[in-house]
């Protein structure tokens, strides 16, 4: 887990954005400090939209936010936010004939690093940091998916940004690549504010000091991973057959069933995981009880869980 600072570096209030009739962001407010904050949510929750708004890639219809004290409401403020930003999109695209060095160098110029010698030093530094020093002269089109993701991470890291926005960086990676990526993200989170969108609750459990859960364009939970897991305390049990009363249940490798929901009397309770808490948060049946950060009308728009 990364170093955590209480100082607010990114703050947003009332962010709203519609795509036609769909509210992609519905009055989203948040405050982030240094360290890695996880952003969980089902498909269509608004995670990517939120990241793109905070990255000044897409304008919100209403609401405001600041990044490291800069307000993107003005053109000058937007430039300052972008100078402080590293962004890894969900499906990073590349110029396939570029090498990792050339591509990251190109991004470095776009980040206004025009001193050639200093820029090349910086490009080499970030390629070393993500473990691509060996292949920095190889064309991107010849690299594996995991290596391409690392090129994208290097592009996000170049220029040493204070705010790093990572949109599902571990998707499509094999377990070894994912572990390697986790190390990189943990390293990147030291001294920086990192907002990490993911579907992998393990990523959040291993990397994040804090987690936001989004559904239906709203923030449904804002707290620590332990607090999210604690939502499922007393609500996960083992049985020999799938419990029809469970919100979710699945057969485990040992032949028994793991159930999440409202347990029957005398159930064989299990230690809850972050994923259990996440599933119950989305299900919404425990909604607003005492968890900070909930934004009301919990559950009526939460998506199906298991």
């Amino acid at each position: 887990m990364t170093t955590v600072s209480a100082a607010v570096t990114v703050s947003a209030s009332g962010l709203t954005l519609r795509y036609g009739a769909t509210r992609a962001l519905d009055d989203v407010s948040l405050r982030l400090g240094r360290g890695v904050t996880g952003l969980l949510g089902p498909n269509g929750a608004g995670k990517t939209t939120l990241l793109r708004v905070l990255a000044t890639s897409v304008p919100a219809a209403s609401g405001a936010f600041t990044v490291l004290g800069h307000d993107p409401a003005s053109a000058h403020g937007r430039q300052e936010v972008r100078r402080a930003l590293g962004y890894l999109p969900q499906t990073p695209g590349f110029h396939p004939d570029f090498t990792p060095f050339e591509f990251v160098d190109y991004v470095a110029i776009l980040k206004e690093l025009t001193d050639r010698a200093a820029r090349h030093r910086e490009v080499r530094r970030v390629l070393d940091e993500v473990g691509l020093a060996e292949v920095r002269g190889k064309r991107i089109k010849k690299l594996s998916g995991g290596m391409r993701q690392r090129v994208a991470l290097a592009a996000a890291l170049v220029g040493d940004p204070g705010f790093l926005v990572l949109d599902e960086p571990t998707v499509g990676l094999d377990p070894e690549q994912r572990m390697r990526f986790r190390e990189l993200i943990a390293q990147a989170g030291e001294g920086r504010t990192v907002l990490l969108s993911t579907h992998q609750t393990e990523d959040v459990a291993m990397l994040c000091h804090r987690v936001l859960v989004m559904a239906g364009g709203r923030v449904r939970f804002d707290g620590t991973p332990a607090e999210l897991a604690a939502r499922a305390a007393g609500r996960v049990w083992r049985s020999t057959a799938r419990d029809p009363g469970a919100k979710a249940g699945w057969r485990t490798g040992t032949g028994g069933y793991r159930n999440v929901g409202d347990p029957p009397e005398g159930a064989d309770l299990l230690e809850p995981t972050l994923e259990d808490g996440y599933l119950l948060t989305l299900d919404g049946d425990r909604g607003d009880r005492g968890d900070r950060g909930d934004r009301g009308d919990h559950g009526d728009r939460a998506e199906a869980t298991a």
Binding site: L17, G44, P59, Q90, E102, A155, G191
Partner: protein, 242 residues
């Protein structure tokens, strides 16, 4: 406590950095990102059309339409000029999109100029229509293609909108002569009394296309959402609406 990022010595740029230095540093990489294969294919088609006309001894009218066809072919190639597979990776950077767009246009312009000169020289002087007026027509087609691409980038989310822009441009080029009323006619032969008036309309169209292109270079502010937005490219986005 780990020190805050964003202050690495020698890395952060000077805030007073002239845009010209950034643009100069971008010339080489932007040159490499240009769709040269597509542009080359379009240019080759144009040369083939005009060359074939010369080979078969085409008359003035056929030559005129051959030259217009060549201009359209290059314009279809220019429709791909702003295609950028790395668009989303390089979107939130301090260098404005307009700089990259203008740089792309500036790099292609001299090449297109040389190509057009070659196309005109390929036509025998006896059947060549007024070169200045034809250059205005071709220039307008190219700027329209660029404006279409700029609008697609400004209001859309696709990293490579070239195909859609080219299809729209081709459709417009086919339908315009059929649907435009006589007093708005653009495609007239040189011996037509409306030739001069038609080229005044071409000039107005060029101005409009250039203005549209310039307006599309302006990046949206924080509350500048357009009406026809689409969801982000994320897997998770809601159904797209346009």
């Amino acid at each position: 406590m780990t020190p805050a990022r964003g202050s690495r010595p020698g890395v952060r740029p000077s805030r007073a950095l002239p845009g010209a230095r950034v643009a100069a540093a971008l010339v080489a990489p932007v040159w490499r990102t240009l769709p040269w294969r597509t542009l080359g294919a379009a240019a080759a088609v144009g040369l083939l059309v005009v060359g074939a006309g010369r080979a078969v001894g085409a008359g003035p009218v056929e030559t005129l339409y051959g030259l217009r066809g060549a201009g359209l072919a290059l314009a279809l190639g220019v429709a791909f000029l702003l295609d950028d597979p790395a668009r989303h990776t390089t979107a939130p950077v301090p260098v404005r999109r307009a700089v990259r767009t203008l740089l792309r246009a500036a790099l292609v312009t001299p090449v297109a100029g040389l190509w057009w000169a070659a196309v005109l020289l390929l036509v025998p002087g006896t059947v060549r229509p007024p070169a200045g007026d034809l250059t205005l027509e071709t220039g307008t087609a190219l700027v329209l293609a660029l404006a279409g691409a700029a609008v697609a980038v400004r209001y859309g989310d696709a990293p490579e909108p070239g195909r859609s822009v080219a299809a729209a441009l081709l459709g417009t080029a086919v339908l315009a002569p059929l649907l435009l009323p006589g007093h708005w006619a653009l495609f007239v032969p040189p011996n037509d009394p409306g030739w001069t008036a038609a080229h005044e309309r071409w000039a107005r169209l060029l101005t409009g296309a250039a203005a549209l292109c310039a307006a599309s270079l302006h990046e949206r502010g924080p509350h500048g959402q357009s009406r026809s937005v689409t969801s982000p490219c994320g897997t998770s986005g809601p159904s797209r609406t346009s």
